[in-house]
């Protein structure tokens, strides 16, 4: 059970993982239309202004694509193992499935209290649930990277930390640029 929740890639990868991952992205983006949860960074989510489906979908796709590119490049530096790009695409897409949980958070009444009273206990509760979903995603991305790129030891830890920070910064910057320059 624990493996299926935190490391499903032991059993699922490649095209199957890609299809499941893309389905998760579509579901999360669809829920966000009603809940207003934005995924404006590879690892995080926030409740914000209501937008169209295209905006939510684009955010999710950018988060996924930036993470895949960064980790693929990092993998070239530390591993010579022959890997399939479809496994990276698939496992990293499937690693985003906790975003379905995050996208539901906008429905809870405490998010409205949050805007009215930012210092409330409800804010803490919301932040805690968001943190759980984010941690879950980070653990999944770690396992996706470890399995699809076959990296171990110090190289795995170092490149993963660099990858997480770079993905977050680049995806946030790119999404912000899109908000400013494209009419969505």
């Amino acid at each position: 059970m624990e493996t299926k929740l935190f490391n499903p890639f032991v059993y699922v990868a490649g095209l199957k993982a890609l299809l499941l991952g893309l389905a998760s992205i579509l579901i999360a983006a669809s829920i966000s239309i009603f809940s207003g949860v934005h995924f404006d960074g590879a690892m995080d989510a926030h409740v914000g202004l209501s937008s169209g489906f295209r905006v939510y979908l684009l955010e999710n796709v950018i988060d996924w694509a930036v993470t895949v590119i960064i980790f693929y490049l990092l993998r070239l530096a530390v591993s010579s193992s022959s890997i399939r790009f479809i496994d990276i695409l698939g496992t990293f897409a499937l690693a985003r499935y906790p975003s379905i949980l995050s996208s539901l958070l906008g429905f809870f009444p405490f998010t409205k209290f949050y805007f009215a009273n930012p210092s409330s206990v409800l804010l803490m509760a919301m932040a805690f649930i968001m943190l759980l979903a984010t941690t879950w995603t980070v653990v999944l991305i770690f396992n996706a990277y470890k399995i699809s790129c076959n990296i171990k030891g110090v190289g795995l830890i170092c490149t993963f930390v660099i990858g997480v920070m770079a993905s977050e910064i680049l995806s946030k910057t790119f999404i912000l640029w899109i908000y400013q320059h494209l009419k969505l």
């Binding site: 890639f9 059993y11 990868a13 022959s82 890997i83 496994d87 399995i147 076959n150």
Partner: protein, 102 residues
């Protein structure tokens, strides 16, 4: 009870060699000093993996469906075995060179 082949000397931790082999039919005994085959340095699970891999004609996809694991998981298992074989080869070469100098 299935006995496993001892590979390391319990006294000095050096790799063991084969001293004698016997025929199960006529009880002839052949004595000498023979190296153990490279694959015997792998554990039972790893040897089974290699046998299954050969039976699957070297198809990782087929192995993955047979074992119920994903393709990259099986490929990583194979990579680990390859790394272990390479290390063992180096050790054997090293010990051969050591014997020659003596």
């Amino acid at each position: 009870m299935k006995k496993s082949l001892p590979l390391i000397c319990p006294s000095c931790n050096t790799k063991l060699n084969v001293k004698s082999l016997s025929c199960g039919n006529c009880e002839t005994i052949v004595s000498g000093n023979f190296d153990l085959p490279l694959l015997s340095n792998l554990n039972n699970d790893e040897q089974k993996f290699i046998i299954d891999f050969v039976k699957c004609s070297g198809s990782l996809k087929e192995m993955a469906s047979k074992l119920g694991f994903s393709y990259p998981t099986v490929r990583n298992m194979l990579d680990d075995i390859i790394a272990k074989i390479k290390t063992t080869e180096k050790e054997l070469k090293h010990s051969e060179n050591g014997n020659k100098t003596i």
